[in-house]
């Protein structure tokens, strides 16, 4: 069964604004990862947060994890047109990743 569900399904913002995407999951996890997929391309790993971590930063990305609520958020600050893509969360509990439904982010110049 699908592990992660993302919210919103689609998000449109202007360049310079912040974009926040949320991911909820159903069972306990070892880690949660975020990936980006540009149109017609493969997925690119962005960041991994372990179950004992609460927050992680990488450049303009900030990820939070709340295991009590079984949720995570991805914040992209000062967005750019090049950030336009689909973003997926993926949870790992055993030996495989289970991907969420994805958020389509459109950043207008």
């Amino acid at each position: 069964s699908q592990q992660g569900e993302e919210d919103p399904q689609a998000l449109s913002i202007q360049e310079g604004e912040n974009a926040t995407m949320n991911c909820s999951y159903k069972t306990s996890i070892n880690n949660l990862q975020w990936y980006r997929q540009n149109s017609g391309r493969g997925l690119v790993h962005l960041i991994l947060i372990r179950s004992n971590e609460r927050e992680k930063h990488s450049g303009r990305l900030r990820v939070t994890l709340d295991t009590s609520k079984k949720s995570s958020s991805l914040l992209i600050t000062a967005s750019r047109a090049a950030d336009t893509a689909s973003y997926f969360c993926a949870t790992q509990r055993t030996d495989k990743l289970i991907f969420g439904t994805g958020t389509r982010l459109q950043v207008f110049p």
């Binding site: 391309r41 493969g42 997925l43 690119v44 991994l48 030996d95 495989k96 991907f99 994805g102």
Partner: protein, 112 residues
């Protein structure tokens, strides 16, 4: 110097045919995967190999058969193709299962 490569990028074929998709990674990773992404962008794992050994085999029809001749290659053979097999198939690899995965560019399969 593509890290994970797949061929072909596009594959159009008729129902009932047999086709193969090839994947190669030059990252020295031990684990490789096949995923299927449907028209709604939902990505689901199909198979995983670690050092040529099958470790994940999801509920996939027997018509799909992965083959790993060595740990740098994982091919996917599909027999008796059906309309519902139309999707984008992604190969991926990782060093430590299942941490950070590196994805290939995808193969868009269209069955007519």
């Amino acid at each position: 110097d593509t890290a994970v490569s797949q061929t072909p990028k596009y594959l159009v074929t008729q129902m009932g045919n047999d086709k193969s998709i090839k994947c190669e990674q030059n990252l020295g990773h031990d684990t490789m995967y096949w995923y299927k992404q449907d028209s709604k962008k939902f990505l689901k794992i199909m198979f995983s190999y670690n050092n040529k050994e099958l470790i994940i085999n999801e509920t996939v029809p027997n018509r799909f058969s992965p083959k790993s001749p060595d740990k740098a290659h994982l091919n996917l053979h599909i027999n008796s193709l059906e309309l519902g097999d139309s999707a984008v198939y992604f190969c991926a690899s990782s060093q430590n299962n299942p941490y950070e995965q590196y994805f290939g560019p995808g193969t868009r399969l269209t069955v007519t």
